[in-house]
Symmetry: C2
Subunit: 152 residues, 2 copies
DNA sequence: CTAAACCCTAGAGATAACTCTAGGGCAAGC
DNA sequence: GCTTGCCCTAGAGTTATCTCTAGGGTTTAG
């Protein structure tokens, strides 16, 4: 049993265009062609494609994914290189996760202010402060400093 | 006290080019100019720039960051819109974190195989299986199926 | 045997986010 | 007052990753 490019697109949620693009970039050297020149994906191909998606999902560049696939095509002998490549990538991903978590904590801090009942008051104070800093440095104040109009 | 673009670049690890690009994209409407037309960053500006970096770090598009900054420039009245924007973004980031964690788990699974003493044997079996699948479907076998040469 | 729905390639176009160049003004030290 | 090292803008160029178009072959159902 093999799959057409359309079926693979449906399974992977990559577009047909993207699959062909990946092939052009050398990411799919393992996908064979049938007698009409059509790509015929096997289940084993889908496994490897899934790995490619995991690498892409975690931010690996196509050039580096190609390097990994090249190692795979070299067979079991390349296990050391594959391992080194994935370990390096793993470190990068973990570092990236940490940075994202840090930034998310700051976003949550902002959200916390926005969610508080005194949000308007706090923001007004911050804006007044930022504006005063501009004036103290002989700079135009870019904030409109609209006072909170009361109802209507 | 204000900072030149060079000093800000050093502090934020954004390049001078990127800072000017962000300004061109409307991300820095709050940065004032001195009498010579030079950008003069205040500490308050650095705070906002830091928020911009958090949003970028978590994958927000420049267009959406501009929307957020536009809300900030509108003053305290825009608290509801800011909150909604950040909450939407928060959800996207958390979802993205989950996907990355999932992909990383799969990479770790691969790494685990590569690290085991029987790695070569396992990979050889996988490759033989994938090759057999090709042959069973009347397709050329793209794997070199080089046997593990023994030492030297 | 033909129309519809696939498949293919080559290559142009799109999008996002920078990155750099050209040409020119300002500021501080010798 | 002139060189050096900043600063500015406008706009061209780059990189990465798709996304689509044109032109053409294949397969299948009526």
């Amino acid at each position: 049993m093999t799959y057409t490019i359309k079926e693979v697109a449906a399974k992977t949620k990559l577009s047909i265009y993207t699959l062909r693009f990946y092939d052009k970039q050398g990411l799919l050297p393992f996908v064979a062609r049938n007698s009409s020149g059509y790509r015929a994906f096997t289940d084993g191909d889908l496994n490897l494609l899934h790995t490619i998606c995991c690498l892409k999902e975690t931010g690996m560049k196509i050039k580096d994914i190609r390097q990994y696939i090249d190692y795979v095509m070299l067979g079991p002998a390349s296990v050391v290189q594959r391992r080194e490549l994935l370990e390096n990538h793993r470190r990068a991903v973990v570092a990236q996760q940490a940075k994202i978590a840090e930034s998310l904590a700051e976003i949550d801090y902002k959200l916390n202010i926005y969610t508080t009942p005194e949000a308007q008051k706090i923001l007004a104070m911050e804006q007044a402060f930022a504006g005063a800093e501009k004036v103290a440095n002989h700079l135009p104040n870019p904030y409109l400093s609209v006072q909170s109009g009361h109802s209507e």
